[in-house]
């Protein structure tokens, strides 16, 4: 135990003096994470708010033929702008992307309308262009309600209740809470925390095998009257401390940063108070041992510092995989998911931020299974530290 603490203390001191370790533990995760998150959030807010609030410019060919329709569109927050001369020009313009959408009102429009015939209107858009999708949907929606309105007026004029045209009255009832909607975006938050956690201990993990070997300090160390178990455990423990530090900083900085993100505009009220900061740290804490052990293990197989860095950057991404799959399939937390490290932490975290109650059994399974996995891998690290091949 004494040896373990000596090694631990030395590793902590050594790494606090190493700018590279400090930068990755204290700057990378805690700063990079919230920044990336803020960027994505702002982008998505910009995109989803733009269509409702911003006046949409709609080019119309033959606007003079349908003054009432134009007035209706203008009252729906659209501005009629100059359109290309002909229908052909309009099609080219949409094709090359000068316009997202063009409305064509044919010459016979007024005649057809007053004659009670279905009056033809063309909406030119590129269906393959997904960015124009919102615009064209808005325009089509407006045209459709204008059509509905006309129909109602005609029926009323003939003494028929316009409601006969609505045999069904469909109401959408959305049960997602405002915070629930934010859950999707917050899904990437758990990965950012895990990423920060792993980054914090990466250089220490490399150092305990590949780093010491490359520097030539491994052999003198192993020739000392101490057991190798104590050496490796001391080193893993030091990596854990840096990982914990990095995790704590990133959660704390995230909780501050989230206040400056205009999430309310999306109807989100994420729950990220001081109590959540503490709980999030405790939920993710079992992952620290696992992360430190996995990284040390992977690094111990490498021949050099460079090679270790390459492999560990793969390890950095590994925890995303289960999170990604589950987010794509939009699966809800389930008993068996709690056995999967990174996934269980992710699900619990998202639930907590969504202000939903946590199942104590789920928490217990997540914590125990992650800790057991971490302990097993730590044991494996210690075994591997005993082999002769360690010297390279």
């Amino acid at each position: 135990m004494r040896t373990l603490l000596i090694v631990f203390a030395k590793e902590v001191l050594d790494n606090f003096r190493d700018r590279r370790t400090l930068a990755s533990a204290i700057l990378m995760g805690p700063l990079f994470g919230p920044l990336l998150f803020a960027f994505v959030i702002n982008l998505s807010i910009e995109r989803s708010l733009a269509d409702v609030e911003k006046t949409l410019d709609v080019p119309v060919i033959g606007a003079e033929r349908a003054p009432n329709l134009i007035r209706f569109l203008e009252s729906n927050n659209m501005r009629i702008v100059d359109a290309p001369e002909t229908r052909e020009d309009a099609m080219t313009a949409v094709q090359v992307g000068t316009h997202d959408i063009v409305i064509v009102i044919p010459e016979e429009f007024g005649e057809q309308l007053s004659g009670g015939m279905p009056a033809r209107i063309e909406v030119i858009s590129d269906q393959a262009n997904t960015t124009a999708d919102r615009e064209s949907r808005r325009v089509r929606g407006a045209l459709y309600s204008y059509s509905q309105q006309l129909a109602a007026i005609r029926l009323t004029a003939r003494g028929v209740n316009p409601l006969v045209l609505r045999p069904l009255n469909i109401d959408d009832v959305d049960v997602s809470t405002p915070s629930g909607r934010s859950g999707i975006l917050l899904g990437m938050m758990s990965f950012l925390f895990i990423f920060a956690l792993l980054m914090g201990g990466m250089y220490l993990a490399i150092d305990s095998t590949a780093g010491e070997r490359e520097r030539g300090s491994l052999e003198p160390l192993l020739a000392l009257p101490v057991t190798r178990d104590q050496l490796i455990l001391g080193k893993i423990l030091a990596a854990c401390v840096f990982m914990a530090l990095s995790l704590a900083l990133s959660i704390a900085s995230f909780s501050v940063a989230i206040r400056f993100m205009p999430l309310e505009q999306l109807g989100m009220t994420p729950n990220f108070g001081p109590d959540v900061v503490v709980k999030a740290f405790l939920l993710l804490a079992p992952f620290i041992l696992l992360g430190a052990a996995v990284m040390t293990l992977v690094a111990s197989f490498t021949k050099s510092y460079k090679e270790a860095q390459t492999w560990l950057s793969v390890v950095l991404l590994a925890p995303t995989l289960p999170i990604l799959i589950v987010s794509l399939l939009t699966l809800r937390p389930r008993f068996e998911f709690m056995f999967v490290p990174s996934l269980s932490q992710h699900m619990l975290l998202v639930d907590m931020v969504k202000n939903e109650p946590l199942d104590p059994t789920h928490v217990a399974i997540s914590v125990t299974s992650t800790l057991i996995a971490g302990a097993l891998l730590t044991w494996l690290c210690a075994r591997l530290y005993r082999r002769e091949g360690l010297l390279g």
């Binding site: 520097r215 030539g216 003198p220 009257p225 101490v226 002769e388």
Partner: protein, 242 residues
């Protein structure tokens, strides 16, 4: 007191050491001499217990290097070939780290670290971080680190590598001081003159086997060569390469 009894060590197909035996007594300097790749480092690595012999045995002060390796290490100060330091720690911190790991504690650490810093003339750069140290400074600190706990047995693998004349001279003085203090000193080298100038006993190794084990004079006599370098070449040719 180091005893080596018929050790073998292979790495895959390569037989690095094939039955090396010799004794290195207390109060004597024993030199392990041989060309590059002769098996010197492998033999020494078995002695400071980072490698296990495939066959044969070795002991430090009677403690087997495999069965009671911890005890064997406790009585040994080893300077492996190409030893590196922790660049973010000062020379003093590097030495103190090893002192603590060797079981020293409290005021004893400061005292021993100060002593060895004095002995190896490190004081001038003792409190600087070791990043950017010259090869000579690094070797001195590495040496101090392995000797800080006053080990009875000292194993040095090519300690003079990369050192300038002045540094080699002070290394030689240190080795003689250790001998006078009754320590068992075993070091390896591929430079005949260096070994001849210092050693009471010379073990010449070639192709993983002991070619000759004698004093400098004994070696001259047995090879029939007056010049030590010729004697070295002659001795190596005695061992057949298979």
């Amino acid at each position: 007191m180091i005893k080596v009894d018929g050790i073998h060590k292979s790495f895959g197909e390569v037989k690095a050491v094939r039955g090396v035996s010799f004794d290195a007594p207390d109060g004597k300097i024993t030199g392990l001499l041989g060309p590059n790749g002769a098996g010197k480092s492998t033999t020494l690595r078995v002695l400071y217990t980072v490698l296990k012999p495939d066959d044969g045995s070795a002991s430090i002060d009677g403690h087997d290097v495999v069965a009671s390796s911890l005890e064997a290490r406790r009585r040994t100060g080893a300077l492996p070939h190409g030893s590196g330091l922790y660049p973010h720690l000062t020379a003093r911190e590097n030495i103190a780290y090893f002192a603590k790991l060797c079981g020293l504690g409290g005021a004893e650490i400061d005292e021993k670290v100060d002593n060895i810093i004095e002995l190896l003339e490190i004081r001038e750069f003792a409190d600087r971080r070791t990043k950017g140290f010259s090869q000579g400074q690094r070797t001195k600190v590495s040496l101090a680190r392995s000797l800080v706990h006053d080990p009875q047995n000292v194993i040095l693998d090519e300690p003079s590598n990369g050192l300038d004349v002045m540094a080699i001279r002070s290394l030689r003085e240190l080795i003689l001081k250790l001998k006078d203090a009754g320590r068992c000193v075993l070091f390896s080298s591929h430079v005949m003159q260096e070994v001849a100038a210092l050693c009471d006993d010379i073990v010449i190794i070639a192709h993983g086997q002991v070619a000759l084990d004698d004093s400098a004079d004994g070696i001259r006599e047995r090879t029939g060569c007056d010049d030590l370098e010729d004697a070295f070449v002659e001795a190596i040719s005695m061992v057949e390469q298979d």
